[in-house]
């Protein structure tokens, strides 16, 4: 029994697990109210990403491009950035935040984002003296990291730009949930409310799931405001739920403004949720209420029906964001599933030192491989070559054909999950999320048993 940590042994990628840094920065930027990210580069760098968000959320999000063309690629694109900001500010009177996101092209040609922002701030003062528009420099060369690190970078950049001064304490808790679904944010907010904690979620994406209303108004936008960022230094503390997605912003607030910060285990599964609630309790002095003891118990009750009957010894492969994959591996072990293959899809060399991975490595009692810098061919090839035999895959929809072609049940988690309906609404974190995930796994296995006539008659009296 061993846990091996390896890396992709190819130079190239076949079927990438993540998008590039600017895509992640755009995801962070759309979570802010009255914000339109401006992507400084070729037009595909924003159009494709807008499509990606539409795939996952089935909604439109506003993102602009500086439309880098040949001339500016050769002679510099600062003017495109300037014009892009001016056009946005002139045409969108409510606009308050513009994350200016670099791409591979504009990082290679070395455009001066900060210098251009200085020029633009003078322009704003002259032309819109009654408005304050926050221009946020976000450096996200796509030849480093992935959309995970790009998200982290943009959250941090927005905090740095807008959380400027410490004033009197506001009694609030800063919450950095990482790259999660609106359903996760809604659940988290209900937990905080139940605990009596006044909190600000960075970013509050609950309204990404927006209604179709009689008055035809559109409410698809982030709820986190400029004022929320401005208040962040006055908080009682910060809790970051994802080490690779927003933790650096919490650490910045700690280092700069002495806001206490806890980087909690990402709350997938029961124990991680316990730890999160205890951490929140520690930071705020609030007690964990009975309602959550009850919700925890209902989740355990549901999972207990499934674990040793259907889940025990089943082999699972997991891919997606690192905090998600590690958290889900921990959850799997709680319900007796065996995570045998974990794929982490970028070149971050911190994974090998992640305490959660080291804990897994030291404690698993079955063979497990953790592949860093992986692509989805790493999964497909292992299945093809029979290096791994799987009962379940958990991952995002771009891996769907691996499951379909190999007749392996798959539960969609993470981002993007466009080939199933409504998943952005379902929590995967917390007690409720653990229950919903466990039930999604069971139902996927059940449907698979029926289609494959594999003891389908067993589903009667469990």
């Amino acid at each position: 029994m061993s846990c091996e940590i390896t890396s992709k042994d190819r130079a190239g990628i076949i079927n990438p697990m993540f998008d590039c840094q600017p895509a992640g920065a755009q995801y962070a930027g759309i979570g802010v109210k009255d914000s339109i990210p401006l992507v400084h580069g070729g037009q595909g760098c924003s159009m494709f990403v807008r499509l990606l968000f539409a795939q996952h959320f089935k909604e439109n999000f506003d993102i602009a491009s500086t439309s880098l063309h040949e001339e500016s690629a050769v002679f510099g694109g600062n003017k495109r950035m300037e014009e892009g900001v001016q056009v946005l500010v002139n045409r969108y009177p409510e606009l308050r935040v513009i994350p200016i996101i670099t791409t591979c092209s504009t990082e290679v040609i070395g455009d001066d984002v900060e210098g251009t922002i200085n020029v633009l701030n003078r322009w704003l003062k002259e032309n819109h003296p009654d408005r304050k528009v926050h221009l946020v420099p976000v450096h996200t060369p796509s030849f480093k990291g992935s959309h995970v690190s790009g998200y982290d970078e943009c959250v941090k950049a927005m905090v740095k730009t807008m959380s400027k001064t410490k004033a009197k304490p506001n009694g609030k808790l800063n919450v950095f949930p990482g790259w999660v679904n609106p359903g996760d944010v809604a659940l988290l907010k209900s937990y905080l409310k139940d605990m009596g904690v006044d909190a600000t979620v960075f970013m509050d994406t609950e309204d990404f799931d927006s209604p179709m209303l009689p008055d035809k108004t559109n409410h698809t936008h982030g709820r986190t405001t400029v004022e929320d960022f401005q208040g962040a230094p006055n908080a009682v503390g910060s809790i970051a739920l994802a080490r690779y997605e927003g933790a650096s912003a919490a650490e910045y607030l700690r280092d700069e403004f002495e806001v206490p910060a806890i980087v909690s285990p990402t709350p997938y599964g029961i124990k991680n949720t316990d730890d999160m609630l205890e951490a929140i309790s520690r930071l705020t002095g609030k007690e964990i209420p009975d309602s959550l003891v009850r919700e925890r118990g209902i989740a355990l009750d549901a999972l207990q029906d499934l674990a040793h009957m259907f889940f025990a010894d089943k082999k699972v492969a997991l891919f997606g964001h690192p905090d998600l994959v590690i958290g889900l591996a921990q959850f799997c072990r709680e319900v007796q599933l065996k995570p045998v293959l974990l794929l982490l899809g970028d070149d971050n060399n911190k994974y090998k030192k992640d305490p959660r991975i080291l804990e897994l490595k030291n404690s698993v009692e079955h063979d497990m491989e953790i592949v860093c810098n992986a692509d989805l061919w790493d999964l497909e090839r292992r299945i093809r070559d029979k290096e791994v035999e799987l009962d379940l895959i958990m991952g995002h929809s771009k891996g769907r054909y691996i499951a379909i072609d190999n007749n392996i049940p798959m539960v969609r988690v993470g981002f993007p999950t466009f080939d199933r309906a409504g998943l952005y609404r379902k929590p995967t974190i917390g007690y409720k999320g653990a229950m919903e995930l466990g039930e999604a796994i069971a139902n996927a296995l059940f449907a698979h048993m029926e289609y494959n006539k594999n003891k389908e008659w067993i589903l009667n009296t469990w």
Binding site: I13, L38, G44, M47, L51, H69, R80, S142
Partner: protein, 472 residues
């Protein structure tokens, strides 16, 4: 009523030259929108990039070819799981994408070795696949990697493979359009004529500019099979790399997408004397006209008439059922360009639908000549439309249905306007006789949808007030 300056464009007044409202008695030559010009930054234009035009739209359709994207991983991720071009070999083209995963060190020291290694790995991973197209992207173009030289080296090392290269960084040109051009011209200059087809019919053609969206090409192929016409190559729907090397042997080039693929048809005429026949393979009556022209060219008119009669018998009653119900429906088309001029008159003739606003992402002047020639008076013709303009246009023309991409469809849903996916379709195929009935069905089901009426109802009745957001 010539060109239009929309309210939302008062601070970018140059947009006036791109928007035409067709009015009676105008000489439309005076009002041709400016097109294929630079994009204004920060507008939320709908445009994509040249790499998209080459890989996603044309090259990536092929069913037997590795699509090696030389650049950081994003350009690969972004052009994967986004298209609907099935094949008859298990959709290899939609299942995989390849990237050279450029890193900072390759930006500094060059990426050619990285590309070469990735190419070998890709061929090794899938030993049955022997064809590849390599594309540059923004950064690999900027640092000047010589992908053609690398491809030659790989072909020398692996004599059983063939590789084509395209220089298509996202910043070249102003839209997807440049990518079409570069791929077309590169292909005819380097690959056409390098392989000979087996001729199995006295009648041979290429079908140029059709990308098998939801099986369009495969539906049209049933016509060519019934007519006994051999298609040497489809450019590029359900196509193979090697078929495209044989294009020089066709007697006729039938063109649907004149925008993306007219280039290669023109060059085939110039270099090999193959005539170019432009048709509309969307539109019921257009399809009959196209088949008549093709059959007239080959002298097989009776066969054509027989096929048309069968298709009319099968599908015309259904089409007319929809026409009865869709008559007077107001439609907008916000797509790439050509579907504007393929559809405006065909939905009008065959379905009684009025197209009241059209926007083209990347059309050229000739696309606007075509659409304005065929389109109605009182209709807006927009080049490179942007999001605020779309809202204003909706207020002006009040469409009943919009044919556009899914993201914009989700946006206009909030205004209770249904959409049909004008790019990748809802339930296609949409080409051919049957296809236009499919389009009509989707339009009918979009418009006649109980949810739209339910959404309009305010259950608070007379006490209705503006919707309050949760936190307010």
């Amino acid at each position: 009523m010539p060109m239009v300056l929309l309210k939302c464009d008062k601070d970018i007044p140059e947009r006036e030259k791109h928007i035409y409202l067709k009015a009676p008695d105008e000489d439309t030559r005076d009002y041709l929108p400016l097109s294929n010009a630079a994009t204004i930054p920060g507008t939320l234009s709908e445009r994509g990039c040249a790499f998209c035009g080459a890989k996603l739209v044309i090259g990536g359709v092929l069913k037997d070819t590795i699509q090696m994207i030389h650049g950081p991983l994003g350009c690969a991720y972004d052009t994967w799981h986004t298209k609907r071009y099935p094949t008859d070999n298990g959709h290899f083209n939609m299942k995989y994408v390849w990237s050279t995963d450029m890193k900072e060190s390759h930006i500094v020291f060059g990426g050619e070795k990285r590309l070469e290694k990735s190419m070998h790995e890709a061929f090794d991973a899938m030993p049955d696949v022997k064809r590849m197209i390599v594309y540059t992207t923004c950064p690999t173009a900027l640092i000047g990697d010589d992908i053609k030289a690398v491809a030659k080296k790989v072909m020398d090392a692996r004599p059983d493979v063939d590789v084509f290269t395209v220089e298509c960084p996202g910043f070249s040109g102003v839209s997807q359009s440049k990518g079409h051009h570069v791929l077309n011209i590169g292909w005819i200059n380097e690959k056409v004529g390098t392989l000979e087809p087996e001729i199995t019919s006295p009648y041979t053609m290429n079908f140029i500019g059709d990308f098998n969206i939801q099986g369009d090409t495969q539906l049209l192929q049933t016509y060519w099979d019934r007519l006994g016409i051999q298609v040497i190559a489809h450019f590029t729907g359900n196509g193979t790399y090697d078929d495209l090397r044989k294009m020089h042997r066709a007697q006729l080039n039938v063109v649907n997408c004149a925008r993306s693929s007219g280039y290669i048809a023109n060059e085939l005429k110039k270099q090999y004397g193959i005539p170019r026949l432009d048709i509309d393979s969307w539109g019921f009556n257009y399809m009959a006209e196209g088949i008549r022209k093709i059959c007239a060219f080959f002298g097989i008119e009776e066969k054509g008439e027989a096929l048309i009669a069968e298709e009319y018998a099968l599908w015309k009653p259904k089409l007319d059922w929809y026409k009865e119900r869709l008559k007077g429906t107001r439609m907008a088309i916000w797509t790439g360009g050509p579907r504007l001029w393929h559809w405006t008159k065909s939905v009008e003739d065959d379905l009684g639908v009025e197209v009241v606003a059209m926007s083209s992402k990347f059309g050229h002047e000739e696309d606007f000549e075509k659409v304005i020639a065929r389109g109605r008076e009182g209709t807006y013709y927009i080049d490179d439309g942007n999001e605020l303009e779309f809202f204003e246009i909706i207020d002006l023309v009040k469409p009943d249905v919009i044919f556009t991409g899914p993201r914009v469809g989700e946006l206009v849903k909030k205004q209770h306007i249904p959409y049909v996916n004008g790019h990748a379709y809802h339930n296609g195929p949409y080409m051919g006789f049957e296809g236009f009935v499919n389009l009509a069905r989707d339009m009918y089901n979009a418009v006649n949808n109980p949810l739209l009426k339910l959404a309009a109802k305010d259950i608070r009745g007379a006490n209705r007030i503006a919707y309050k957001e949760a936190a307010e």
